[in-house]
């Protein structure tokens, strides 16, 4: 099963290496990893997507928690959460196929961000299934290159992921 972990870390040098190193060292596979700043200075948030059964994910979370620079680990796949990923796709586009492609892009609420004589770059965001679906359709025209940001996720509703203690309700 796929799990999405939200990890709050102190923004210190080497913290990414610590987290990534832990995965490779203990033989856990990462599907994707993203890092970015949070509203709190000095604290970054990582989102890691990984495949594994309950026991593996439990062990991953416990090991992550042992890292001193890790402040909080939560498994967002156990709760309702919004998950998004951004993808750029460079697709072969001859003049006669362009409008077809355009239509697909619109259906997926994507954007054409670059056009050249025989190719286009498409930007699309969504969850896994949506991105897979558009890739499948565009394959028909010939995909030249894909780049993905990896998953990011937030809990639905007013609940937030904070350091110390469980994810708790914000005041608002």
């Amino acid at each position: 099963m796929k799990h999405v972990l939200a990890i709050l870390v102190e923004n210190k040098s080497g913290v990414l290496a610590r987290v990534a190193g832990l995965f490779s060292r203990r033989g856990f596979n990462i599907d994707s990893i993203t890092v970015g700043e949070t509203t709190e200075p000095g604290i970054s948030r990582m989102t890691i997507t990984l495949e594994g059964d309950e026991a593996v994910v439990e062990q991953v979370m416990k090991q992550l928690n042992k890292l001193i620079n890790v402040l909080k680990v939560s498994n967002l796949s156990q709760e309702p959460a919004v998950m998004r990923e951004l993808m750029l796709i460079k697709v072969r586009a001859e003049p006669h196929t362009r409008s077809d492609i355009q239509q697909i892009v619109e259906t997926f609420r994507g954007k054409v961000v670059d056009v050249s004589l025989n190719s286009m770059i498409i930007e699309v965001t969504g969850n896994d299934e949506k991105l897979e679906a558009i890739v499948l359709l565009l394959q028909h025209y010939g995909i030249r290159e894909i780049v993905r940001t990896g998953n990011i996720a937030l809990l639905r509703g007013a609940k937030v992921t904070r350091e110390n203690g469980e994810a708790r309700r914000s005041k608002g």
Partner: protein, 554 residues
């Protein structure tokens, strides 16, 4: 500033080796009150600090220079990490502006030690230094202990700054759990009351948390037999009738049978290493398992747990003792007694052959010291023979590299042990292979005139490797015979220590008596029967009740 911090932490002794990047640090040390032990290799400095920490129960401190000095520490750090030993290691680094340029004697030691330290730091400025040092001591010595490394660039060492030191300061991402969950402890009480075939399986955590007295009380009050992992020998008196001996690959038959047939296993500060469990699928298949450990990640890592309790073993047992009631274990204890009678420990093959038996030497050491010595070992057959034949009675009297299995650990660790407990008789029992991995430390012990003894169980081979080759590789002794060994007694003499060489039982007894009666370093080279093997033995990845006792091979 570093020295001031060490004084705040009441550090009494530093183990280290100087070099270019730590010249400012060693200069500051020149006028300081703290004792510094100059080992003859950085690896030995870490092992010595580790031995000191295991005996003293507080962090050992190490200094080393950048580059090769730092990389020489790696085996020692990994050894301490695997056995959860508190260390604070300070390495010099090249100047800040040179970092990343492959400059002279530069090594990315924080990168290298990332997986073998509990935490590490590369200090960016003098302002960070006091906080970092305070955190390092706190992290190393609390929760599940472990080594912490601080890498300090030379220019930072040379800067001036204001010193403001706050011990045991809170760290946001670090909050060990000490108190066990009361509901879980209640479940533990119930399980113990209901169990008919319980076994306590204690690990090194019992020693680290200082829970030996509590363990004894629990076992005796509830009439539960106790098996101790290699790491915890001494945590329960070896001469108590409830003691089963060590379990696992070279464990006692009764201990392995008891774990296999138990209906309840109470695991305390143990981590279910594969050397203990054998084939996991068949380990303790009838038992409910309670696991108490300070490290949540250990619980359920190798074996599924029925009652997990995260907490400090000492505190959890104390809490438990307030409520626990013994179950009826009399039939079980009788059963165990029968096993113990039927499968006594072998004292070696053909003991009448006239050859010197390693088991005999260890039993003599036990007899002559009353089991009260501080024993260190290296890794191999001799290590297992010590675990089997020496009767440990007190915690922190047995130092060995259990997790990493580091040859070369024992001799320098004995130096640390002696410094931590000067009044104790300290004996390193080693093999001819292992001793040569840090034999240069003879210079250190002669220099300090440390009163410690080295007993080399010299079988002319890498005995444990030879044993595996004999049993599992049809006696193809590939690279395991040590031709060209020196006369260790004469080597010792050359360094200025006392050297003795023996090859019979009588000579061994006389030499041990002599060694224990003189002060100062003594090396006894014991030429033992090279064919002797360690039994009982469970083949790797076999269930632990499938035991080769050695007798069926005679």
């Amino acid at each position: 500033m570093i020295i001031a911090a060490l004084e705040h932490e009441q550090v009494e002794v530093i183990f280290g080796y100087p070099g270019g990047a730590v010249l400012p640090l060693y200069d500051a040390l020149y006028h300081a009150q703290i004792k510094h032990i100059l080992t003859r290799h950085e690896q030995a400095a870490v092992h010595a600090a580790d031995g000191y920490a295991r005996v003293k129960g507080k962090p050992g401190v190490v200094f080393a220079t950048s580059g090769p000095g730092a990389t020489n520490l790696v085996t020692g750090i990994a050894t301490a990490y695997m056995d959860s030993v508190p260390l604070v290691i300070i390495t010099g680094q090249v100047a800040t502006k040179l970092i990343g340029t492959d400059s002279f004697q530069e090594a990315d030691i924080t990168g290298i030690t990332l997986p073998i330290t509990k935490h590490n730091y590369l200090v960016g400025s003098i302002e960070e230094l006091p906080v970092t040092l305070a955190e390092a001591f706190y992290i190393a010595s609390t929760g599940r202990c472990g080594p912490v490394l601080i890498d300090i660039p030379k220019d930072v060492m040379e800067q001036e700054g204001t010193f403001c030191y706050e011990r045991n300061r809170e760290i946001p991402g670090y909050r060990p759990t000490y108190v066990g969950h009361p509901g879980q402890i209640n479940r533990m009480v119930k399980a113990i009351k209901e169990a008919r075939r319980p076994v306590i399986f204690a690990g090194g955590g019992v020693i680290r948390s200082g829970a030996a007295a509590e363990l004894r009380e629990l076992a005796i009050k509830c009439r539960i037999p106790v098996t101790l992992s290699l790491m915890s020998l001494g945590a329960f008196p070896g001469d108590n009738p409830l003691f089963l001996g060590m379990p696992g690959m070279h464990g006692m038959v009764a201990a392995n049978f008891a774990l296999t047939e138990a209906d309840l296993i109470i695991a305390l500060g143990a981590r279910f290493d594969d050397r203990v469990t054998g084939k996991l699928e068949q380990f303790a298949s009838e038992a409910k398992i309670i696991h108490v450990d300070i490290d949540p990640a250990e619980i359920g890592k190798n074996v599924p747990i029925d009652i997990p309790i995260v907490g400090d073993v000492k505190q959890v047992i104390r809490e438990l003792l307030k409520r626990v009631q013994p179950g009826d274990t009399s039939d079980w204890l009788q059963r165990i007694e029968e096993w113990q009678a039927r499968y006594p420990l072998s004292e070696g093959t053909a003991p009448s052959s006239g050859k010197l038996k390693p088991q005999f030497v260890i039993r003599e050491i036990n007899r002559l010291t009353g089991g009260k010595a501080l024993i260190t070992t290296d890794v191999g057959q001799h290590q297992m023979w010590v675990a089997q034949h020496y009767c440990f009675r007190e915690p922190r009297t047995f130092l060995t590299s259990g997790g990493l299995g580091t040859m070369g650990y024992g001799f320098p660790a004995a130096i640390g042990a002696k410094l931590a407990s000067p009044a104790s008789t300290v004996i390193c029992i080693t093999g001819d292979g292992s001793f040569q991995m840090n034999i240069q430390e003879l210079a250190t012990v002669v220099c300090g005139n440390y009163d410690l003894k080295v007993v080399v169980l010299n079988n002319g081979c890498l005995g444990m490797v030879r044993q595996w080759q004999e049993l599992f590789f049809e006696k193809r002794y590939s690279q395991s015979l040590l031709h060209g060994n020196p006369d260790f007694a004469r080597v010792a003499e050359a360094f200025g220590a006392t050297g003795l060489r023996v090859s019979t039982a009588d000579e061994a007894t006389a030499a041990l008596e002599k060694a224990l009666s003189v002060r100062g370093p003594v090396v006894i080279d014991c030429l033992i029967d090279p064919a002797e093997n360690v039994y009982p033995m469970v083949a790797p990845n076999r269930p632990i009740n499938e035991i080769i006792t050695g007798r069926d091979l005679e």
